[in-house]
Amino acid sequence: MSQSGDALVKLEGVYKHFPIKQGIFFKKEVGRVHAVDGVDLEVRRGETLGIVGESGCGKSTLARCITGLHPITKGRILFEGQDIGRSPGKAFRRDVQMIFQDPYGSLNPRRRVGSIIGDPFDIHGTASGAERKRRVQELMELVGLNPEHFNRFPAEFSGGQRQRIGVARALALKPKLIVCDEPVSALDVSIQAQVINLLKDLQDELGLTYIFIAHDLSVVRYVSNRVAVMYLGKIAEGAEGEELYERPRHPYTNALLSAASVADPDAAEKRERIVLIGDVPSPIKPPSGCRFHPRCPKAQETCVGEVPVLIARAGDPADHVTACHFPVEAGEHLAREQAAIEQLSTEPTLPSA
């Protein structure tokens, strides 16, 4: 899919577990949150890799592992072929930047915009004084902010403008990779499109690589070359964007896509919604075998016992990988099977009012 195809970042069996401790003096480990549980992933130079999944699936933790904000429990993260290890060096910190979800929480309210955007220059000692101010104003112009607003505080900007400040800060050190963690989900629809366009323009101009994390499937489809779907700390399916949206193989991907809202009454009426039962299970005690099996309309005994591997399934292109024992075939109607299951479980009856 990507032009060059060489990997900028490579994840090999990455695990991130958070211990749960109890007790006052001898904090005993009583359990672990399996936030990221064995992820293999490759991000190619110049592409946008989208990561989708519901809250608690580990997508943000994964992002923080890649940027070095969380030391990983197990596995390797290679950046340009180098293992970044547990304490990545300054060069890595310069090359990998992050844009956060909350444009209110990610900017210090007591500092002026100019010094927020200029911080990376100070930390890495790349520019100071008048040079620093000039570079900051260049960045502000690049992201569509008025450079004269250099001395304003974040509170004087709207949500969309604040997100532009976050983008300018991320761009300051000319990074190679930017990890965007839900960069537009806090913004209104009309402002969302402004920021998405900005990110796309910057990618074309500066040759950036993005990891784009979002729960909004249509946004991810729009920006990404390849998409990975996460469920409970694991990658359920990964493929080139259109391939994944047009021919999803994993039942979870199917359900997720069918659940997405579309602003088109005809399409909304026609689609068959696969309504999943229940909620995402706890990542403290993830289900055995395939983690999706308790909610899966196609689950069989194999799924309870055996963990499915993430490989290309019969008939799929080599980079369309699915972790499922019984991938969905074209034309299969999951919605109907699901309805049957729902009826079996608890068909609600009306209370006598």
Binding site: S55, V189, N197, V219, Y222, L276, L350, P351
Partner: protein, 360 residues
């Protein structure tokens, strides 16, 4: 007469910065069995207008009328309103965690709600009904979960519990304010499905407030689009999505990344939402509008019927915009009509203002 008729509702708040005119004249009506979608961005006044109906905007200055079964909700006594609120009109809020009391069991909160309005019901009966309701909204093992605290429920289950509570007295009108915004896509689908099914069974009226045009695409009978405290367009669902007239509605629809996967550049609406303390003169949307004309800056457009697909005017599809009523839809012909109108209606002076607006 409809179940609820709101006429020219205006709500403003005094703040230290000045008077915030949150709602500046909105009218709508909804009947049993119907769903009205109210769409708008943050600050459009969509939540304030419905909260005012239920007396939840303390300290606000309120004008207008809101007739619920003929009685004006805005002038009735607090006692009277309390009897209606919860029983006749139920509300479902966005954040299910902060709208359930954390220290009381879920079942007890539902029981309290039932007994408050129907004191003759015994505790046992109310509890039985709470269990039935929880089962109806799809909570597994409702006879046990009824004794859980809200924190023991997941986000989706809490929202289900809120819905169970809202339905406990068989209300005539349900107001749902962003009921699925805090939830994940698959859970959102469950909740929307559930609300639609229950609405049909109970034949209640539903007002669905959202910022997401996707949420109401298959849910609403009628849609009201609000901007800067005013309604800008009102239409049945199909007309609104396929034949929008107001440039704001059109802009909203165009700024959503297409589900078709087309990678054309997105067309965002330039600029920022308006200040509600000093709203723009004339049409509130004019500083961001690509079709601005001279009169948009000075004269305020009112809602008026626009053309239907078959060429007649449609009294149910109304738009507050000075563009010709033929300029409906996203097709090139409509764009031609718009450009023509703009060519006649815009002088160089306005041209300069719009360019200024687009730059920021």
């Amino acid at each position: 007469m409809s179940l609820l008729e709101v006429h020219d509702l205006k709500v403003s708040f005094d703040t230290s910065d000045g008077v915030v005119k949150a709602v500046r004249g909105v009218s709508f009506s909804v009947d049993r069995g119907q769903t009205l979608g109210i769409v708008g961005e943050s600050g459009s006044g969509k939540s304030v207008s419905t909260q005012t109906l239920l007396g939840l905007t303390g300290g606000a200055r309120i004008e207008g009328r809101a007739l619920f079964e003929g009685q004006d909700l805005l002038t009735m006594s607090e006692d009277h309103l309390r009897r209606i609120r919860g029983k006749e009109i139920a509300m479902i809020f966005q954040d299910p965690l902060s709208s359930l009391h954390p220290l009381y069991k879920v079942g007890r909160q539902i029981v309290e709600m039932i007994r408050q309005h129907e004191p003759e019901v015994t505790k046992q009966q109310a509890r039985k009904r709470a269990v039935e309701l929880l089962g109806m909204v799809g909570i597994p093992q409702p006879d046990q979960r009824v004794d859980d605290y809200p924190h023991q429920f997941s986000g989706g289950m809490r929202q289900r519990a809120m819905i169970a509570m809202a339905l406990s007295l068989n209300p005539k009108l349900i107001v749902a304010d962003e009921p699925t915004t805090a939830l994940d896509a698959t859970v959102q689908a469950q909740i929307l499905d559930l609300m639609l099914r229950l609405q049909r069974e109970f034949d209640s009226a539903l007002i669905m407030i959202t910022h997401d045009l996707g949420v109401i695409a298959d849910l609403a009978d009628n849609v009201l689009v609000m901007y800067g405290g005013k309604p800008v367009e009102q239409a049945d669902r199909r007309s609104l999505y396929y034949r929008p007239h107001h440039p704001y509605t059109k802009g909203l629809l165009e700024s959503i990344p297409g589900s078709s996967g087309a990678k054309d550049r997105l067309k965002p609406i330039p600029g920022q939402p308006p200040s509600l303390i000093n709203p723009p003169t004339g049409c509130t949307f004019h500083p961001r509008c690509p079709y601005i004309m001279d009169r948009c800056v000075t004269d305020e457009p009112q809602l008026r019927p626009v053309l239907d697909a078959d060429g007649g005017t449609n009294p149910n599809h109304r738009s507050a915009c000075w563009l010709p009523i033929e300029a409906i839809g996203l097709k090139p012909e409509a764009e031609g009509i718009r450009q023509e109108a703009v060519a006649v209606g815009r002088t160089t002076a306005t041209n300069i203002t719009t360019q200024g607006a687009e730059a920021q």
